[in-house]
Protein backbone atom coordinates (compact mmCIF):
# COMPACT_ATOMS: atom_id res chain seq x y z
CA UNK A 1 0.00 0.00 0.00
CA UNK A 2 2.75 2.44 0.98
CA UNK A 3 4.47 1.96 -2.33
CA UNK A 4 1.50 3.49 -4.07
CA UNK A 5 1.91 6.74 -2.11
CA UNK A 6 4.22 8.17 -4.77
CA UNK A 7 1.43 8.03 -7.27
CA UNK A 8 -1.00 9.38 -4.70
CA UNK A 9 1.19 12.44 -4.08
CA UNK A 10 1.46 12.99 -7.79
CA UNK A 11 -2.30 12.78 -8.19
CA UNK A 12 -3.08 15.35 -5.50
CA UNK A 13 -0.15 17.74 -6.19
CA UNK A 14 -0.43 17.70 -9.97
CA UNK A 15 -4.17 17.27 -10.30
CA UNK A 16 -4.48 20.27 -12.57
CA UNK A 17 -1.67 19.28 -14.94
CA UNK A 18 -3.08 15.75 -15.25
CA UNK A 19 -6.57 17.14 -15.73
CA UNK A 20 -5.32 19.36 -18.57
CA UNK A 21 -3.78 16.37 -20.36
CA UNK A 22 -7.03 14.47 -19.88
CA UNK A 23 -9.12 17.34 -21.21
CA UNK A 24 -6.98 17.55 -24.36
CA UNK A 25 -7.51 13.84 -24.94
CA UNK A 26 -11.21 13.57 -24.10
CA UNK A 27 -12.25 16.39 -26.46
CA UNK A 28 -10.65 14.49 -29.35
CA UNK A 29 -11.18 10.84 -28.50
CA UNK A 30 -13.49 9.03 -30.92
CA UNK A 31 -15.22 7.22 -28.06
CA UNK A 32 -16.22 10.43 -26.28
CA UNK A 33 -17.92 12.50 -29.05
CA UNK A 34 -20.13 14.39 -26.57
CA UNK A 35 -17.03 16.13 -25.22
CA UNK A 36 -15.93 17.29 -28.68
CA UNK A 37 -18.23 20.30 -28.53
CA UNK A 38 -17.27 21.17 -24.96
CA UNK A 39 -14.77 23.85 -24.00
CA UNK A 40 -11.68 22.30 -22.37
CA UNK A 41 -11.58 24.94 -19.63
CA UNK A 42 -15.09 23.95 -18.58
CA UNK A 43 -14.25 20.31 -17.99
CA UNK A 44 -10.83 20.70 -16.36
CA UNK A 45 -12.28 21.66 -12.93
CA UNK A 46 -14.43 18.51 -12.83
CA UNK A 47 -11.36 16.35 -13.48
CA UNK A 48 -9.28 18.27 -10.90
CA UNK A 49 -12.01 17.73 -8.31
CA UNK A 50 -12.21 14.08 -9.29
CA UNK A 51 -8.46 13.50 -8.88
CA UNK A 52 -8.38 15.35 -5.57
CA UNK A 53 -11.30 13.41 -4.16
CA UNK A 54 -9.81 10.16 -5.40
CA UNK A 55 -6.46 10.92 -3.78
CA UNK A 56 -8.29 11.45 -0.45
CA UNK A 57 -9.90 8.01 -0.50
CA UNK A 58 -6.90 6.21 -2.02
CA UNK A 59 -5.60 4.89 1.30
CA UNK A 60 -8.99 4.29 2.96
CA UNK A 61 -9.57 0.86 4.46
CA UNK A 62 -12.97 0.75 2.79
CA UNK A 63 -12.56 2.94 -0.27
CA UNK A 64 -15.69 1.57 -1.95
CA UNK A 65 -18.10 3.45 0.34
CA UNK A 66 -16.25 6.77 -0.07
CA UNK A 67 -15.98 6.21 -3.83
CA UNK A 68 -19.69 5.46 -4.08
CA UNK A 69 -20.41 8.82 -2.42
CA UNK A 70 -18.26 11.07 -4.56
CA UNK A 71 -18.81 9.16 -7.79
CA UNK A 72 -22.57 9.30 -7.13
CA UNK A 73 -22.42 13.08 -7.25
CA UNK A 74 -20.12 13.01 -10.28
CA UNK A 75 -22.53 10.67 -12.12
CA UNK A 76 -25.51 12.85 -11.26
CA UNK A 77 -23.80 15.94 -12.71
CA UNK A 78 -22.80 14.13 -15.91
CA UNK A 79 -26.31 12.68 -16.25
CA UNK A 80 -27.83 16.16 -15.93
CA UNK A 81 -25.42 17.39 -18.61
CA UNK A 82 -26.82 14.68 -20.90
CA UNK A 83 -23.62 12.66 -21.32
CA UNK A 84 -24.44 9.07 -22.34
CA UNK A 85 -23.16 6.40 -19.93
CA UNK A 86 -20.69 4.72 -22.35
CA UNK A 87 -19.00 8.09 -22.89
CA UNK A 88 -18.99 9.05 -19.21
CA UNK A 89 -17.43 5.68 -18.46
CA UNK A 90 -14.80 6.07 -21.15
CA UNK A 91 -13.98 9.57 -19.93
CA UNK A 92 -13.22 7.95 -16.55
CA UNK A 93 -11.06 5.33 -18.28
CA UNK A 94 -9.12 8.20 -19.86
CA UNK A 95 -8.73 9.84 -16.45
CA UNK A 96 -7.08 6.69 -15.16
CA UNK A 97 -4.90 6.42 -18.23
CA UNK A 98 -3.69 9.98 -17.79
CA UNK A 99 -2.60 9.46 -14.19
CA UNK A 100 -0.42 6.70 -15.46
CA UNK A 101 0.83 8.53 -18.54
CA UNK A 102 1.73 11.52 -16.41
CA UNK A 103 3.59 9.32 -13.92
CA UNK A 104 5.46 7.68 -16.76
CA UNK A 105 6.29 11.02 -18.31
CA UNK A 106 7.59 12.30 -14.99
CA UNK A 107 9.63 9.08 -14.73
CA UNK A 108 8.66 8.45 -11.14
CA UNK A 109 9.29 4.69 -11.40
CA UNK A 110 12.85 4.08 -12.60
CA UNK A 111 14.82 1.73 -10.37
CA UNK A 112 14.09 -1.95 -9.73
CA UNK A 113 12.45 -1.14 -6.39
CA UNK A 114 10.44 1.55 -8.09
CA UNK A 115 9.33 -0.95 -10.72
CA UNK A 116 7.89 -3.07 -7.93
CA UNK A 117 6.25 0.06 -6.57
CA UNK A 118 4.87 0.76 -10.05
CA UNK A 119 3.23 -2.64 -10.06
CA UNK A 120 1.63 -2.04 -6.67
CA UNK A 121 0.51 1.45 -7.64
CA UNK A 122 -0.97 0.17 -10.85
CA UNK A 123 -2.86 -2.60 -9.08
CA UNK A 124 -4.23 -0.17 -6.47
CA UNK A 125 -5.23 2.38 -9.09
CA UNK A 126 -7.01 -0.28 -11.13
CA UNK A 127 -8.90 -1.44 -8.05
CA UNK A 128 -10.02 2.13 -7.34
CA UNK A 129 -11.19 2.61 -10.91
CA UNK A 130 -12.99 -0.74 -10.91
CA UNK A 131 -15.02 0.55 -7.98
CA UNK A 132 -15.53 3.87 -9.76
CA UNK A 133 -16.80 2.14 -12.92
CA UNK A 134 -19.24 0.07 -10.86
CA UNK A 135 -20.47 3.05 -8.81
CA UNK A 136 -20.85 5.23 -11.91
CA UNK A 137 -22.84 2.61 -13.83
CA UNK A 138 -25.00 1.79 -10.82
CA UNK A 139 -25.84 5.48 -10.26
CA UNK A 140 -26.56 6.12 -13.94
CA UNK A 141 -28.90 3.12 -14.15
CA UNK A 142 -30.68 4.36 -11.03
CA UNK A 143 -31.04 7.87 -12.47
CA UNK A 144 -32.44 6.53 -15.74
CA UNK A 145 -34.92 4.31 -13.86
CA UNK A 146 -35.97 7.17 -11.57
CA UNK A 147 -36.55 9.60 -14.41
CA UNK A 148 -38.64 6.97 -16.24
CA UNK A 149 -40.71 6.35 -13.09
CA UNK A 150 -41.27 10.08 -12.55
CA UNK A 151 -42.36 10.36 -16.15
CA UNK A 152 -44.87 7.52 -15.78
CA UNK A 153 -46.39 9.31 -12.76
Amino acid sequence: MLSSLKLLDLMSDRAESIARQWAKDVVRNSKTPYYHAVDQDEIIPQAVEFYQKLSRVYTDKDPFTSIRNFVGKFAEDRFQEGIPLPQALYAIVLMRRHIWLYAEFQAIFITIVEQQQAMDSLTRTILMFDYIAYALTEKYEMLIKNSTKKDKR
Partner: protein, 278 residues
Protein backbone atom coordinates in the same frame (compact mmCIF):
# COMPACT_ATOMS: atom_id res chain seq x y z
CA UNK B 1 4.09 -4.84 -25.86
CA UNK B 2 2.60 -8.17 -26.90
CA UNK B 3 5.99 -9.92 -26.60
CA UNK B 4 6.12 -8.92 -22.94
CA UNK B 5 2.65 -10.25 -22.40
CA UNK B 6 3.36 -13.54 -24.23
CA UNK B 7 3.75 -15.42 -20.96
CA UNK B 8 0.30 -14.39 -19.91
CA UNK B 9 -1.21 -15.44 -23.23
CA UNK B 10 0.46 -18.85 -23.03
CA UNK B 11 -1.00 -19.29 -19.58
CA UNK B 12 -4.47 -18.41 -20.85
CA UNK B 13 -4.21 -20.86 -23.72
CA UNK B 14 -3.18 -23.71 -21.44
CA UNK B 15 -5.51 -22.98 -18.54
CA UNK B 16 -8.62 -21.37 -20.04
CA UNK B 17 -11.08 -23.75 -18.30
CA UNK B 18 -9.32 -23.50 -14.93
CA UNK B 19 -9.29 -19.70 -14.94
CA UNK B 20 -12.93 -19.61 -16.09
CA UNK B 21 -13.95 -22.02 -13.32
CA UNK B 22 -12.15 -19.90 -10.74
CA UNK B 23 -13.89 -16.79 -12.08
CA UNK B 24 -17.28 -18.54 -12.04
CA UNK B 25 -16.87 -19.38 -8.35
CA UNK B 26 -15.97 -15.78 -7.60
CA UNK B 27 -18.67 -14.08 -9.67
CA UNK B 28 -21.43 -16.35 -8.36
CA UNK B 29 -20.63 -15.42 -4.77
CA UNK B 30 -19.60 -11.81 -5.14
CA UNK B 31 -21.85 -9.22 -3.47
CA UNK B 32 -21.61 -6.87 -6.46
CA UNK B 33 -22.77 -9.53 -8.93
CA UNK B 34 -25.77 -11.20 -7.19
CA UNK B 35 -27.60 -11.97 -10.47
CA UNK B 36 -24.89 -14.46 -11.47
CA UNK B 37 -25.57 -16.48 -8.31
CA UNK B 38 -28.88 -17.69 -9.71
CA UNK B 39 -27.43 -18.89 -13.03
CA UNK B 40 -26.34 -22.51 -13.59
CA UNK B 41 -22.60 -22.87 -12.93
CA UNK B 42 -21.97 -24.42 -16.37
CA UNK B 43 -23.50 -21.39 -18.09
CA UNK B 44 -21.28 -19.04 -16.11
CA UNK B 45 -18.15 -21.11 -16.78
CA UNK B 46 -19.01 -21.17 -20.49
CA UNK B 47 -19.21 -17.36 -20.47
CA UNK B 48 -15.77 -17.22 -18.86
CA UNK B 49 -14.27 -19.69 -21.34
CA UNK B 50 -15.64 -17.67 -24.26
CA UNK B 51 -14.14 -14.52 -22.83
CA UNK B 52 -10.68 -15.90 -22.12
CA UNK B 53 -10.55 -17.43 -25.61
CA UNK B 54 -11.45 -14.03 -27.04
CA UNK B 55 -8.73 -12.47 -24.97
CA UNK B 56 -6.23 -14.81 -26.58
CA UNK B 57 -7.60 -13.90 -30.04
CA UNK B 58 -7.24 -10.21 -29.21
CA UNK B 59 -3.59 -10.79 -28.40
CA UNK B 60 -3.03 -12.19 -31.90
CA UNK B 61 -5.01 -9.53 -33.70
CA UNK B 62 -3.69 -6.31 -35.22
CA UNK B 63 -7.06 -4.70 -34.56
CA UNK B 64 -8.03 -5.99 -31.11
CA UNK B 65 -10.83 -3.45 -30.74
CA UNK B 66 -12.60 -4.88 -33.79
CA UNK B 67 -11.89 -8.46 -32.69
CA UNK B 68 -13.56 -7.81 -29.34
CA UNK B 69 -16.77 -6.45 -30.86
CA UNK B 70 -18.46 -9.79 -31.58
CA UNK B 71 -17.80 -11.11 -28.11
CA UNK B 72 -18.86 -7.89 -26.38
CA UNK B 73 -22.05 -7.80 -28.38
CA UNK B 74 -22.93 -11.45 -27.64
CA UNK B 75 -22.03 -11.10 -23.97
CA UNK B 76 -24.15 -7.95 -23.58
CA UNK B 77 -27.10 -9.56 -25.37
CA UNK B 78 -26.88 -12.68 -23.22
CA UNK B 79 -26.68 -10.66 -19.99
CA UNK B 80 -29.47 -8.34 -21.08
CA UNK B 81 -31.73 -11.28 -21.91
CA UNK B 82 -31.04 -12.73 -18.48
CA UNK B 83 -31.99 -9.34 -16.99
CA UNK B 84 -28.57 -8.82 -15.43
CA UNK B 85 -28.11 -5.12 -14.56
CA UNK B 86 -25.36 -3.40 -16.52
CA UNK B 87 -23.23 -2.61 -13.47
CA UNK B 88 -23.19 -6.34 -12.59
CA UNK B 89 -22.37 -7.39 -16.17
CA UNK B 90 -19.47 -4.92 -16.13
CA UNK B 91 -18.25 -5.95 -12.72
CA UNK B 92 -18.27 -9.58 -13.87
CA UNK B 93 -15.87 -8.56 -16.64
CA UNK B 94 -13.72 -6.76 -14.07
CA UNK B 95 -13.64 -10.01 -12.07
CA UNK B 96 -12.57 -11.85 -15.23
CA UNK B 97 -9.56 -9.58 -15.47
CA UNK B 98 -8.84 -9.88 -11.77
CA UNK B 99 -9.04 -13.68 -11.83
CA UNK B 100 -6.78 -13.84 -14.84
CA UNK B 101 -4.24 -11.81 -12.95
CA UNK B 102 -4.68 -13.73 -9.69
CA UNK B 103 -4.16 -16.99 -11.55
CA UNK B 104 -0.97 -15.68 -13.16
CA UNK B 105 0.24 -14.43 -9.78
CA UNK B 106 -0.58 -17.71 -8.11
CA UNK B 107 1.30 -19.64 -10.78
CA UNK B 108 4.35 -17.43 -10.14
CA UNK B 109 4.43 -16.33 -13.76
CA UNK B 110 6.33 -13.10 -13.07
CA UNK B 111 9.12 -13.67 -10.55
CA UNK B 112 12.44 -12.18 -11.63
CA UNK B 113 13.21 -8.47 -12.07
CA UNK B 114 12.84 -8.77 -15.83
CA UNK B 115 9.58 -10.64 -15.34
CA UNK B 116 8.34 -7.89 -13.01
CA UNK B 117 8.96 -5.42 -15.79
CA UNK B 118 7.12 -7.72 -18.18
CA UNK B 119 4.30 -7.93 -15.64
CA UNK B 120 3.78 -4.15 -15.71
CA UNK B 121 3.68 -4.21 -19.50
CA UNK B 122 1.34 -7.20 -19.57
CA UNK B 123 -0.92 -5.57 -17.02
CA UNK B 124 -1.07 -2.37 -19.07
CA UNK B 125 -1.99 -4.29 -22.20
CA UNK B 126 -4.59 -6.35 -20.34
CA UNK B 127 -6.20 -3.22 -18.95
CA UNK B 128 -6.38 -1.62 -22.38
CA UNK B 129 -8.16 -4.67 -23.79
CA UNK B 130 -10.59 -4.74 -20.88
CA UNK B 131 -11.27 -1.03 -21.35
CA UNK B 132 -12.29 -1.79 -24.93
CA UNK B 133 -14.54 -4.65 -23.89
CA UNK B 134 -16.17 -2.65 -21.07
CA UNK B 135 -16.87 0.26 -23.42
CA UNK B 136 -18.36 -2.01 -26.07
CA UNK B 137 -20.56 -3.83 -23.54
CA UNK B 138 -21.90 -0.54 -22.15
CA UNK B 139 -22.55 0.75 -25.65
CA UNK B 140 -24.36 -2.46 -26.66
CA UNK B 141 -26.44 -2.46 -23.47
CA UNK B 142 -27.61 1.04 -24.22
CA UNK B 143 -28.38 0.08 -27.79
CA UNK B 144 -30.53 -2.76 -26.46
CA UNK B 145 -32.27 -0.48 -23.93
CA UNK B 146 -32.96 2.05 -26.69
CA UNK B 147 -34.23 -0.72 -28.98
CA UNK B 148 -36.62 -1.87 -26.25
CA UNK B 149 -37.74 1.70 -25.62
CA UNK B 150 -38.34 2.13 -29.37
CA UNK B 151 -40.62 -0.91 -29.41
CA UNK B 152 -42.53 0.14 -26.30
CA UNK B 153 -43.15 3.77 -27.15
CA UNK B 154 -43.97 3.12 -30.82
CA UNK B 155 -46.19 6.02 -31.94
CA UNK B 156 -44.87 8.37 -29.25
CA UNK B 157 -41.42 8.03 -30.86
CA UNK B 158 -42.66 10.10 -33.75
CA UNK B 159 -43.49 12.89 -31.31
CA UNK B 160 -40.14 12.47 -29.56
CA UNK B 161 -38.42 13.46 -32.79
CA UNK B 162 -37.32 17.06 -32.78
CA UNK B 163 -39.73 17.96 -35.56
CA UNK B 164 -42.97 16.00 -35.49
CA UNK B 165 -44.77 15.82 -38.84
CA UNK B 166 -41.76 16.76 -40.89
CA UNK B 167 -39.05 19.30 -40.40
CA UNK B 168 -40.55 22.79 -40.37
CA UNK B 169 -38.76 26.05 -39.84
CA UNK B 170 -40.16 28.42 -37.25
CA UNK B 171 -41.23 30.89 -39.97
CA UNK B 172 -43.08 28.11 -41.86
CA UNK B 173 -44.96 27.16 -38.71
CA UNK B 174 -46.05 30.76 -38.11
CA UNK B 175 -47.19 31.06 -41.74
CA UNK B 176 -49.17 27.78 -41.58
CA UNK B 177 -50.75 28.84 -38.28
CA UNK B 178 -51.62 32.27 -39.67
CA UNK B 179 -53.37 30.69 -42.68
CA UNK B 180 -55.30 28.26 -40.44
CA UNK B 181 -56.38 31.04 -38.08
CA UNK B 182 -57.42 33.25 -40.97
CA UNK B 183 -59.45 30.33 -42.34
CA UNK B 184 -61.04 29.87 -38.92
CA UNK B 185 -62.03 33.56 -38.70
CA UNK B 186 -63.51 33.53 -42.26
CA UNK B 187 -65.43 30.29 -41.56
CA UNK B 188 -66.79 31.71 -38.30
CA UNK B 189 -67.88 34.90 -40.03
CA UNK B 190 -69.50 32.98 -42.92
CA UNK B 191 -71.36 30.48 -40.72
CA UNK B 192 -72.46 33.01 -38.11
CA UNK B 193 -73.38 35.96 -40.37
CA UNK B 194 -74.68 34.19 -43.51
CA UNK B 195 -75.99 30.84 -42.26
CA UNK B 196 -76.74 31.92 -38.67
CA UNK B 197 -75.51 28.58 -37.34
CA UNK B 198 -72.48 27.45 -35.33
CA UNK B 199 -72.59 23.69 -35.82
CA UNK B 200 -70.01 21.35 -37.46
CA UNK B 201 -67.42 23.88 -38.70
CA UNK B 202 -65.96 24.50 -35.21
CA UNK B 203 -64.57 20.92 -35.22
CA UNK B 204 -62.05 22.15 -37.79
CA UNK B 205 -60.61 24.47 -35.11
CA UNK B 206 -59.02 21.48 -33.42
CA UNK B 207 -56.47 21.27 -36.27
CA UNK B 208 -54.67 24.56 -35.38
CA UNK B 209 -55.10 23.81 -31.64
CA UNK B 210 -53.40 20.38 -32.00
CA UNK B 211 -50.63 21.71 -34.24
CA UNK B 212 -49.94 24.64 -31.92
CA UNK B 213 -49.55 22.31 -28.91
CA UNK B 214 -47.25 20.00 -30.88
CA UNK B 215 -45.06 22.82 -32.10
CA UNK B 216 -45.00 25.22 -29.17
CA UNK B 217 -46.09 23.17 -26.11
CA UNK B 218 -47.64 25.32 -23.36
CA UNK B 219 -47.51 28.46 -25.53
CA UNK B 220 -49.90 26.70 -27.94
CA UNK B 221 -52.74 27.32 -25.45
CA UNK B 222 -52.91 30.93 -26.70
CA UNK B 223 -54.20 29.64 -30.06
CA UNK B 224 -57.03 27.78 -28.28
CA UNK B 225 -57.84 30.92 -26.27
CA UNK B 226 -57.79 33.04 -29.43
CA UNK B 227 -60.18 30.70 -31.26
CA UNK B 228 -62.48 30.59 -28.21
CA UNK B 229 -62.61 34.40 -28.19
CA UNK B 230 -63.29 34.45 -31.98
CA UNK B 231 -66.41 32.30 -31.73
CA UNK B 232 -67.72 34.13 -28.66
CA UNK B 233 -67.21 37.61 -30.19
CA UNK B 234 -68.70 36.46 -33.50
CA UNK B 235 -71.67 34.98 -31.64
CA UNK B 236 -72.21 38.31 -29.84
CA UNK B 237 -72.12 40.19 -33.15
CA UNK B 238 -74.06 37.89 -35.49
CA UNK B 239 -76.14 35.42 -33.47
CA UNK B 240 -78.13 37.71 -31.23
CA UNK B 241 -81.13 35.95 -29.77
CA UNK B 242 -79.51 32.48 -29.96
CA UNK B 243 -78.39 31.14 -26.53
CA UNK B 244 -74.64 31.36 -25.79
CA UNK B 245 -74.47 27.99 -24.02
CA UNK B 246 -73.27 25.87 -26.99
CA UNK B 247 -70.54 28.31 -28.02
CA UNK B 248 -69.36 28.79 -24.42
CA UNK B 249 -69.02 25.00 -24.13
CA UNK B 250 -67.11 24.94 -27.46
CA UNK B 251 -64.75 27.72 -26.34
CA UNK B 252 -64.11 25.96 -23.01
CA UNK B 253 -63.46 22.67 -24.86
CA UNK B 254 -60.89 24.38 -27.10
CA UNK B 255 -58.98 25.52 -24.02
CA UNK B 256 -59.33 22.14 -22.26
CA UNK B 257 -58.01 20.31 -25.34
CA UNK B 258 -55.17 22.87 -25.65
CA UNK B 259 -54.21 22.43 -21.97
CA UNK B 260 -54.37 18.59 -22.12
CA UNK B 261 -52.27 18.48 -25.29
CA UNK B 262 -49.71 20.90 -23.87
CA UNK B 263 -49.44 18.77 -20.74
CA UNK B 264 -49.00 15.64 -22.88
CA UNK B 265 -46.36 17.36 -24.99
CA UNK B 266 -44.55 18.39 -21.80
CA UNK B 267 -44.38 14.71 -20.83
CA UNK B 268 -43.27 13.75 -24.32
CA UNK B 269 -40.45 16.30 -23.98
CA UNK B 270 -39.39 14.69 -20.70
CA UNK B 271 -39.43 11.29 -22.44
CA UNK B 272 -37.31 12.77 -25.19
CA UNK B 273 -34.72 13.91 -22.63
CA UNK B 274 -34.65 10.46 -21.03
CA UNK B 275 -34.41 8.83 -24.47
CA UNK B 276 -31.43 10.99 -25.39
CA UNK B 277 -29.76 10.20 -22.07
CA UNK B 278 -29.85 6.46 -22.71
Amino acid sequence: MKTFAAKLFDLIELKTEDIAAQWAKDVMKHNRTPSYGSLPEETVIELGVKFYRLFRQMSLSNTPYETAKTFSSDYAEECYEKKIPLQEALYAVILMRRNLWLYADFQGTFMTVLEQYQAVEALNWTILMFDYVSYQITEKYHELIKGDADKKIGFVKMLIKDQPFGEKKSADKILIMFILLLGAVILTYYYHSSLATSTVFTHLFYIPIILASLWWGAKGIFIAVFLGIVILVSHTLFLQGIPFTDDIIRAVMFIVIGVVLSWLMGNVKKMKDIYHNL
